[in-house]
Amino acid sequence: MSAYPDSERRLPSRAYDVAVIGGGIFGLFCALTLADAGKSVVVIDRGPVWSEASAVNAGSLGVQNKLPALVPYTLWSWEIWETLAERLGADIGLRRDGGYKIAMTEAEAERLDAVSMQQKALGLDVRRLTQADLRRTAPWISSDCVAATYSPQDGYANPTLVGPALRRAVERSGVEILDDTAVEEIRSGDRLGVVTRRGEIQASKIAITSGAWSGRLAAMVGVRLPISLDVNMVSVTESARPTIENIVTHARGILTLKQVANGSCLIGGGWQGIGTLENQRKEVSYDQLVHNLRLALRVIPGLERLNVVRSWAGYEGVTPDSLPYLGLLPGHRNIYCAACARGGFTLGPLMGQLLGELISHGETSKPIDIFNPGRFAHVAA
């Protein structure tokens, strides 16, 4: 029936210590941490692992574009990123050559100042630049840009390199990965079970790391986990002479732009495409794509003649306060969740690792109270 012979393979009949549902960046790092702690782990994914938000995001590892509450976590996650290539034994396209956050109006400049003060207080290395500074260090940014901050701590990794390398490492550590295995039901209680279209999987604990889909899985065990859906668009250009040396973000968070190793420029910023989880279609919104490109052009006029080769859209789950969920599901003692950080690619390694620590040791190396998945349980729907 299915086109993939692999997905018709019989399910292993053994029971696992932990079943991880969702093989994106949260799930794979969680699985890796659990395997390192000696747990037997299975990762279950409705499609191939690493095919949704983790794979199709634009790869920014930004520190300047995170919520203040997430700044320490961003820096901790960067510690994992810094050594990841070595740990995985593969090139992941990691770069940390800093980034500019720009303002095009006076109001945005004021905003930039306020936020950068806050960020400095939290320990970020952020410098306010004058227009003259900017002309000198980044002449490719438009002279219409009225203000900017610079942080040497912004960077980038290539999601299409990270995914396969991470998958190999996870498999090497003994974790079983089940692609194309949609979950139909979760049996809670003392004897946990994950019912999939290929049969039931037994596990002592379950980790829900399913990004935007996490709300549906939590609902299977009676937990309301509010998640709204963003459909973020990204465009990529053909290769060009290396010019844009740093990642570029915007005071109001509506632009991300970078030039990657092969010379392509990636243009995003959370402009919305069209799609729902139900219809499984993520379409580009032509209108918003045009506005995204207009903004990019205003900020970097040199893009004018560079060809766009492809635009696409990807899902991102967003919580009501834009902070991730991480912890035990309310009312359960063996079902956990980690999902939906604004900036999940940057934070994913840490979030996955913290969930792995929590599941294997019952405690985490960093505080996770503000991420409690039960924090909206009593808010009316």
Binding site: A3, Y4, D179, Q272, L293, E304, S322
Partner: protein
Amino acid sequence: MSRPVVIIGAGPAGLSCAWELASAGREVVLIDDNGMAGGQYFRQLPETYQVSRDARLLRDKARFDELAKVLTLPGVRYLSSTVVWGAPGNKTVAYAGPTSSGRIEASAIVIATGAQEKSLPFPGWTLPGIISAGGCLNLAKAHGMVPTGRVVVAGNGPLVLVAAATLIAAGAEVVGVVEAQSDIRLASAAVSGLFAAPGVLRTGIGYRARIMAARAGFRTGWMVAGARGKDRLTAVGIAPVGADGRPRRDKQQWIEADALVVGYGLLPGTETARLFGCRTEHNPALNGLVPWRDDTLRTSEEGIYAIGDGAGIGGVEVALLEGRIAAHSIMGTRAPASLASRYRRLDGYRRKLNLAYRMPQPLLAATDDTIICRCEELTLGRLLADPGRGRNSLNAVKTSSRLGMGRCQGRNCLHVASSLLGLATDDLTTHPRARPPLKPLAVGLLAADKDAGSAMEPDEITLSE
């Protein structure tokens, strides 16, 4: 104001469709990404060129000049150097070009975007001095340029004869012509009357006679196996085609050459049809995808038609007829009976011609260190080792290897990669999706879209809690 019919592509099919519609008083917008109308077949020398009216290269100029008069008819708006890059709505096209970028809501859309060449990677195929048959014909037609030195023409299909004969006529030194199909199959096709289309067999024989007269070696049942050279091509390796569609390297021979022209067949370009949501199907004779069409040449989508070589390889005469037939379908009028019967006859010949040249196995000549995806510089060995292969999905291989993610967006590599990797070519669920922009297009041209709806800026993340 009534909505116009939008025709994408001003080659033979598009021009002929525009004629039929405009002469019946219908409003037409004809959009073409080339600077000059005519498509590949009618490609002309620029008017600024001073040339003697050389008979051969300008052979169809008179017919083109007649056809191109449609561009001056009232009711016809012609946008040249303009790319249709997207499908922003039901029967709406997004276009971008040097004079304007915007959207057009159409009463019907006619996709007449033509074919693309199949690539056949072989060791050394990226050396300077090797060009495609279509590219070679374009240079000859549009600029009067032909390769210098000793030229070998190799491939599979009628384009091999056309390219070789055109080069000889233009004065090139063609030293060898190598057709992969065996003479036995070609001859039996001819004998059984399959080629008895008006002129087709005669034209073919004429081309072959010209090649023979030029004393170029002509081989059938052989194919390119490799190319040698340091900074540029110096020799072409050819070998008999094995039963598995691969060259029999034990019998490989080398021909000293300065240029190699390769033409291993044409494939309809289906990206435009797929972006508009049209269903495609696998065509066994072409071993590739074609848009599904009904008898009226309508696709699976209401009001969207596909004609010419972009819908199935039939050549110029079929394309001209399909343009007229689609126009009648759009207008709801009956095409003249003679048109329909002529089309049936030519369409039958087209199928037979495609089948006569069809190889029993897809031709493959790459070795492990041959680059398959030129944009991302991926070799066959690298792709064979890719974990995405295990899922029997071209899209999975693309995602994990970056196959087809460069400038050509897979136009040159995805088709041959699926054969080389043994992936299903007919399971469309495993193919990468067509995405906007349909062709690489400058940020400035996209941003200039005058008909874009209003901006809805992304929600700001609340940066102060």
